[in-house]
């Protein structure tokens, strides 16, 4: 188990290094940051001076190692546009994105687990078919369009909810639904499949034969086992949701790091974009690692493979 954990952690670290090197070189090879900083009015001498000042005249790999070394210490340099420290800009906004991500995930779980359980109790029944239909429709609904339609209906026509900003909890309701519903089909299908498998197993038959009440069998014996892969998948979905937060935060003017990355891309503010890519990637890698380790701990066969 320990050897497996070490091996997986090492691979995770290596992945982060490769991802950061890729994003760094992609952004530095394709666009000249000196032109962005200098702006349209800058003369050739100005550009040259900016290159020297920021060290853009050195080879890309030297710049990368310098940037990566600082990034390890939590220093992502300064924003080209705002001149502020990137780490400060992110620390101010990451709370909003995390809140949105956690709320959206909770929303998805609250919908998908009961739906998956009910569907699994009677496979191919009417309830199961309706649940499947909801999943199929949910998957086809473009997130950002759903968000816009919610704004029109709930925000403008009915005036139930605020449509822009992040001042109160009410501001989080629509973004949470918009971001969360997209994860429900996958989580529901997994809950359903897991429950069907568990409900057909011998120990459930034993539990029923002992005369335990159906609800005890269902929740205490079956769901507890079926839910483990769902939790593991939910962790991975949290990583995806951070990516999805870009569109949702932009639409609702919710100023988290998704919105920040959109703003930075509009201004070609490379240090901010690089830092956010690395943060999103780290979240994904760490969550996947944790979910793998959780699975390996619960099922020791995995770590032997």
């Amino acid at each position: 188990m320990l050897a497996y954990a070490l091996k997986r952690s090492f691979a995770a670290l290596l992945i982060l290094i490769v991802v950061s090197a890729l994003t760094f070189s992609l952004s530095h090879l394709s666009a000249d940051p000196a032109l962005t900083i200098g702006g349209a009015q800058a003369s050739d001498e100005d550009i040259e001076a900016i290159r020297k000042l920021y060290g853009f005249d050195r080879p890309v790999y030297v710049q990368y190692f310098e940037w990566a070394g600082r990034a390890l210490a939590g220093d992502f340099g300064k924003s080209y546009h705002y001149g502020e420290r990137v780490s400060f800009m992110i620390s101010q906004r990451i709370g909003t994105t995390m809140t949105l991500g956690v709320l959206a995930l909770l929303f998805a779980l609250i919908i998908s687990i009961p739906l998956g359980v009910v569907a699994a109790i009677r496979p191919n029944s009417l309830v199961d078919r309706i649940a499947l239909l909801i999943a199929v429709f949910g998957q086809a609904l473009p997130t950002f369009w759903f968000a816009l339609m919610m704004i029109i209906v709930m925000g403008v026509w009915w005036r139930w909810l605020p449509i822009s900003g992040n001042d109160t909890w009410a501001h989080f309701v629509m973004p949470t639904i918009a971001l969360g519903y997209y994860a429900t089909p996958a989580l529901m299908r997994l809950t359903r499949a897991g429950m069907i498998e568990v409900l057909g197993s011998d120990y459930i038959r034993t539990a029923r034969a002992k005369g335990l009440s159906p609800s005890v069998v269902l929740f205490k014996h079956a769901l507890r086992n079926a839910i483990i892969p769902v939790v593991a998948l939910a962790a991975v979905w949290f990583g995806f949701m951070l990516g999805g937060s870009i569109v949702i935060e932009t639409i609702f003017n919710l100023k988290g790091i998704g919105w920040l990355s959109y703003d930075a891309l509009l201004r070609s503010d490379l240090p901010v974009v690089q830092a956010i890519v690395l943060i999103f990637a780290s979240f994904y890698v760490i969550l996947t690692l944790l979910s793998d380790l959780l699975n390996a701990w619960l099922d020791p066969r995995i770590s032997v493979r």
Binding site: V136, A140, V247, Y262, L265, Y284
Partner: protein
Amino acid sequence: MTDIAHTPRSFGQIVDEVLEPSPMQKLRKRMFGNYSFLAGLVIILLILAVALLAPLLAPHDPLETNLSNRLTNPFWHDAKTLEEHPLGTDKVGRDYLSRLIYGAQISLLIGVSTMLISGTIGTILGVTAGYFGGRVDMVINFIINTRLAMPVFLVAMAAVVAFGASLTVVILVLGLFLWDRFAVVMRSITMQARDLDYVKAARAMGCSTPYIIVREIFPNVLGSLTVVATVEMANAILLEAALSFLGFGVQAPTPSWGLMLNEAREYMFFSPWLLALPGTCLFFLVLAINLFGDGLRDVTLEKGR
């Protein structure tokens, strides 16, 4: 009790009883018994027909502007428009129905070409990893995990900024990013197929590796390949729409549904149909592809869902 042997039967019934249906007959029966597959297929064919016949169906040139006839109402608000512009006009007086019709071309083009690029990359990587195993598998698995760690949407936006926004760039960027699911699925299926008896036999007979992969392994993965292809096609269409919606995708005046949503956003309070219509088109296209893919999985694969 009636004696079964003495019930009168037609010749056809006897033939049916004696002969097992051929595999093709079984497949056809399952295909026509699967409503999700049929419904998906019908909608896809309809949208495909609309896209191919766009020049005949569209009442106007989708790019023809008319500033004196801007933002006219659709027929349910103003019956007079029914003949000239049934769904009204957009902010520069372009016929909305014609733009929606031509939008089908863009979405299908993006979906199909992205799927072909990513499918090729993913299948080559997955089959190679699955067939050779060992070190090769380790390296390719690492590449897959690295790709999964990259936040697709953010990196795609950054790449569009770096290389300039155009239809080609969007297709290439998405094609180079969305191969992960192909690779993961192809890898695990190839691993199973590698140990089948007839593949072992081919190896023992001295068939060359390329021959075995193309003739013995590939037919095994084809079913899953088509299912993944539908999922990724839908995914690419949704991502392009989201990219174009944020202004990081296809550029004006191309009639992309995502871009139309972007242009309609500022009129969402007074002309909500400008938002509702392109989104509905997107929803139906993606729904049809998902239904078709789900149905295909049930039809072609032994284990459903």
